[in-house]
C-alpha cells in the first residue's frame, strides 16, 4: 500500500470518526496513527474544533492551547490501543463530548461521573473570570449534553447519525482504577476520582436529591437521580 493511499484512508477514517461511524478497527488504526503522525493528530484537532464549534459549544480560542490539550489527550489515549493501561484516562475523557466515539467500552462502563480536575476553565465568561482567582486549576470540561433525540422515527434507508445515547445493560462500574500519579506542573490533566471521593460524591448527590424531592420538584425525577447513584461497592 502506497503511503498516499494509507494517508487517504486515515483521513477517511477520521471523517467517519467525527460522524460517529468509525469501526473498532479503524479506531485502533487512527489512534495508532495519531500518535506517530503529527499531521494526523493536527488534522484531528482541527476536526474536533470545527465540530464543537458547529455544535455551538463554547471552545477556547485556538491560541489558548485547546488544540494542545486535545493533542495531549490524544497522547494519553494512545496506550489504550496498545496496552489497555490507559483505560482510566479514557474514562475521564469519556466525559468530553467529542471524545465519546473514541472510548466506547470506557463510556459504557462508566456509569458514575467523571470527576475532572486540573483543566483550565474554558467556559468561564470573562465576567466570571474576574471573580475567580486566575491560577486556580479547576476543571471545566463541558458538561456532557444529552442530545435531543427526535421523537419522530427516522425513515429507514436514510443517513442516521450514530445514536448518542447508549443503552446501559452492564453497569458493573469499572469506576476507579489506580489514580494516576499526578504529573506536577502539568495544567491540562484529568484525574479520576479516588474511591473515597466517589463515595463522598455519591453520598452528597443522593442526599441532595432526596432533599430536592421536597423542594422545587418535578414529580419523581429527584428520586430517579437519587437512586441512580447507588452503586454496588460504593
Amino acid at each position: 500500500m502506497s503511503h498516499g493511499n494509507h494517508h487517504d484512508r486515515l483521513n477517511e477514517s477520521l471523517s467517519a470518526l467525527m460522524d460517529g461511524e468509525v469501526s473498532e478497527l479503524e479506531l485502533q488504526r487512527l489512534l495508532k496513527a495519531s500518535s506517530s503522525s503529527a499531521e494526523v493528530s493536527a488534522r484531528w484537532s482541527r476536526y474536533q474544533l470545527a465540530a464543537s464549534v458547529m455544535r455551538r459549544e463554547q471552545v477556547a480560542p485556538v491560541d489558548t492551547g485547546l488544540a494542545a490539550s486535545i493533542s495531549a489527550a490524544v497522547e494519553r489515549e494512545e496506550p489504550l490501543a496498545q496496552s489497555g493501561g490507559g483505560a482510566e484516562a479514557a474514562d475521564g475523557l469519556a466525559n468530553s463530548r467529542w471524545w465519546r466515539p473514541l472510548s466506547r467500552g470506557a463510556v459504557a462502563a462508566t456509569v458514575a461521573f467523571a470527576a475532572i480536575l486540573g483543566v483550565q476553565q474554558l467556559q468561564l465568561s470573562s465576567a466570571d473570570r474576574g471573580v475567580q482567582s486566575g491560577g486556580e486549576l479547576v476543571a471545566e470540561v463541558e458538561r456532557p449534553a444529552q442530545q435531543v433525540v427526535q421523537s419522530s422515527p427516522q425513515p429507514t434507508g436514510f443517513y442516521v447519525p450514530a445514536p448518542s445515547t447508549r443503552s446501559v445493560s452492564t453497569a458493573s462500574p469499572r469506576l476507579v482504577p489506580d489514580s494516576q500519579p499526578g504529573v506536577a506542573g502539568q495544567a491540562v490533566i484529568q484525574q479520576m476520582p479516588t474511591p473515597e471521593l466517589m463515595r463522598h460524591l455519591n453520598r452528597v448527590m443522593i442526599q441532595h436529591s432526596e432533599q430536592a424531592a421536597h423542594v422545587g420538584s418535578q414529580g419523581m425525577v429527584p428520586f430517579a437521580r437519587a437512586t441512580y447513584g447507588e452503586q454496588v461497592g460504593l
Partner: protein, 358 residues
C-alpha cells in the same frame, strides 16, 4: 404536532449536512472559526431554548427586588400557563400513577419503573431501575413541603400568587405547543432562566391530568443535560402490591420530616438572585444547607472529612454538578461541596462564598 417533530428532524439533518460543508471550510481556515462561532448560536435544535434570553438581568449582588423590574417581567406568564402549572402541582402529589420511564443523561440511557400512590394522606413513591445495576428506592412521606416551595413545581399546594411572581423573576415561562408523549397529548412549557445562574427546564404536561410526562433540563446554548420521559403511563388506581419492593435490598427512605431548620454556623455570603434557604440539617460530620429559587435546588455541604478528600474541582453527572472546595477555620479544614442542578460556575461561586458565622 407530529408534523413539527418531522420538520425538526429535517432541520437537524440539514444542519448536519451544512456542517459537513462548514467542516471543510474550517479545515481551510481553522482560525476563522471564532468569528463564525457567534453566528452558530442561533442554529438551534427546535426544542432547546437559547439559555437566557436577550434580557439578561442584574449584575451580581443586586437585591432580589431589583432583579427584574416590572417592565422586564412578562405580563406574567399567560394565564393559561399558570393554570397548567397549578394543575401540575396537584397532579404530582395527588395522583395515583405508574409507568415506565426513560432517564437519559451524559449519553446514558436508563429505563425505570415508577409508582406513585397516596395512602392516608401519605405519598408513597417507588422507583426501580430496570437497566444496569438493580437499584430500587421507596419513599414514604407526608405531603408537607419545605417552606420556600411556593414555586410551581411544589409537590403540594397550589401555586400561590406570591410564589408565582417570585419564580417569574428568575424564569420566563413560555407555552411552547403540544407534543405526544407515551401515547398521550401533552402541552410543552418552557421555563427559561433570566440569568446564567440557573438551568432551564422544558416540561411536558399531560393534557388530561397535568402530570409531567417529560422533563428536560437545559444548560447554556440550549444543550439538554438530562431527560426524564415516560414511555408508558397507567393512571388506574395503584394496587398495594405495586408499592412493595421487588428487590431485597431496596432502599427505604422516610421523608416525613424533609425540612428542618436547625441552626448552622455556616453561611453563604453570595447566592444567585432568587435563591433562598429552605432547609438546614445537621449531619454527623457537618451541616447541609438547601437553597431553592422555586424551581432549581442546590445543597451546600460543609463537612469535616479526611485529607483524602482534599479535592478542589467538580464532578458532573448528567445535570447534577458537585463542586468541591476547602475552607479553613481556626486551623481546621472543612470540605465544602455544592451539589445541584445548576451551572458549574454557579456551584463554584457558591462554594467560594461559604463562610463561618460571625
Amino acid at each position: 404536532m407530529g408534523e413539527l417533530g418531522n420538520r425538526r428532524g429535517q432541520v437537524s439533518r440539514r444542519i448536519r449536512k451544512a456542517n459537513s460543508v462548514l467542516l471543510a471550510l474550517f479545515l481551510l481556515a481553522p482560525a476563522a472559526y471564532a468569528q463564525s462561532a457567534g453566528g452558530e448560536q442561533n442554529v438551534g435544535e427546535g426544542a432547546a431554548p437559547e439559555s437566557a434570553g436577550p434580557e439578561i438581568v442584574a449584575p451580581e449582588g443586586t437585591p432580589v427586588g431589583q432583579v427584574a423590574p416590572q417592565s422586564l417581567l412578562p405580563q406574567s406568564a399567560a394565564p393559561e400557563v399558570e393554570q397548567w402549572l397549578g394543575k401540575l402541582a396537584r397532579a404530582v402529589s395527588e395522583l395515583d400513577y405508574r409507568g415506565l420511564v426513560t432517564f437519559e443523561h451524559a449519553g446514558m440511557l436508563e429505563t425505570l419503573q415508577v409508582v406513585h400512590a397516596v395512602r392516608d394522606g401519605e405519598q408513597i413513591e417507588r422507583v426501580r431501575y430496570l437497566s444496569g445495576e438493580p437499584r430500587e428506592l421507596i419513599s414514604h412521606g407526608n405531603s408537607e413541603n419545605c417552606e420556600r416551595t411556593s414555586g410551581p413545581m411544589a409537590r403540594v399546594g397550589l401555586w400561590s400568587r406570591a410564589g408565582q411572581q417570585d419564580v417569574q423573576r428568575a424564569y420566563q415561562f413560555i407555552l411552547r405547543g403540544e407534543e405526544r408523549i407515551a401515547d398521550r397529548d401533552t402541552v410543552v412549557i418552557e421555563a427559561r432562566p433570566r440569568d446564567r445562574h440557573r438551568l432551564g427546564l422544558v416540561v411536558n404536561l399531560d393534557r388530561e391530568t397535568g402530570l409531567p410526562l417529560k422533563t428536560m433540563l437545559v444548560g447554556a446554548q440550549g444543550r439538554v443535560l438530562e431527560r426524564y420521559q415516560f414511555v408508558q403511563l397507567d393512571l388506574s388506581p395503584v394496587q398495594d402490591s405495586d408499592l412493595q419492593p421487588q428487590s431485597a435490598d431496596a432502599r427505604r427512605i422516610d421523608n416525613n420530616n424533609p425540612c428542618s431548620t436547625s441552626q448552622s454556623r455556616w453561611q453563604v455570603s453570595w447566592l444567585p438572585d432568587g435563591f433562598k434557604p429552605v432547609s438546614v440539617k445537621p449531619l454527623t460530620d457537618g451541616d447541609m444547607l438547601v437553597f431553592s429559587d422555586g424551581l432549581s435546588v442546590f445543597t451546600v455541604f460543609v463537612q469535616r472529612l479526611g485529607p483524602e478528600l482534599n479535592f478542589k474541582g467538580r464532578a458532573i453527572r448528567g445535570a447534577t454538578v458537585a463542586y468541591m472546595d476547602r475552607i479553613e477555620v481556626d486551623g481546621v479544614s472543612y470540605t465544602v461541596t455544592v451539589v445541584g442542578e445548576i451551572p458549574d460556575i454557579t456551584a463554584q461561586r457558591v462554594a467560594s462564598a461559604v463562610t463561618v458565622e460571625g
